[in-house]
Subunit: 109 residues, 2 copies
DNA sequence: GAGAACAATCGTAATATTGCAATATAAATT
DNA sequence: AATTTATATTGCAATATTACGATTGTTCTC
């Protein structure tokens, strides 16, 4: 099939999965790290720095943008991308709650 | 292609991407949440509760196990799965550092 | 407006993922 | 040993992802 059965899960589960999936690629992690370092936005520098084709980088950027993790504004000839604070905060909250809900107990396998 | 160019990224980036990817599916999030709630491990209850075929659940469990997020021990006829504390701690550290490295500044796009 | 510079989109090939039926394997029970 | 119960594996079809060359849009500069 290759088609996730989203209707069987809660919207929270689907949303978290979607956000995680958007980050679950080394190139997209690298892109986000690059944005995190030079807080002020970037654009086609990524093509040189990551060693992937322009079309590929653009595709990864679109993926991050489509779930709202980053946002882009046209800055003359180039495009400036940066973190979307709202989604980032959501990510921190959701993942934090998820990971934080684990408490180690002795009686486990 | 469909083949990620892992050689272009650091092992940290690849590792984090792999862990995120393992969690980036609503069924696997649901499985983990189920384990987190009933700390003591589970097994084929998931098949009933999630409404997916047994083969599908087993496959998702294997995926989570293969990256070390969960671990399973044979408990008589059934198998008991639970969180692997070491990997979970690693996840918290890595994701925490990643998400936490963002500081909102005014001069952004 | 013509050209340059940058980024987005299209089209395509290779590979991966998702889901399930069917089958196989393993452990407990009779 | 045969049966039952629980899980894993295999094989397959449908769909998704990754990557890139080629092309198309945009915006700036001349």
């Amino acid at each position: 099939m290759g088609l996730t059965k989203t209707e069987m899960f809660t919207s929270e589960q689907n949303q978290l999965a979607q956000l995680l999936k958007a980050m679950a690629h080394p190139a997209r992690i690298a892109i986000l790290q690059r944005i995190l370092v030079s807080n002020t936005c970037i654009c086609g520098d990524l093509v040189e720095e990551l060693g992937l084709a322009q079309a590929t980088i653009s595709q990864h950027l679109r993926e991050l943008k489509s779930v709202g993790i980053i946002q882009g504004t046209i800055e003359g000839v180039s495009v400036c991308y940066c973190i979307n604070p709202v989604t980032w905060k959501l990510l921190e909250t959701q993942i934090g709650a998820f990971l934080g809900s684990y408490k180690l107990k002795a009686d486990c396998c």
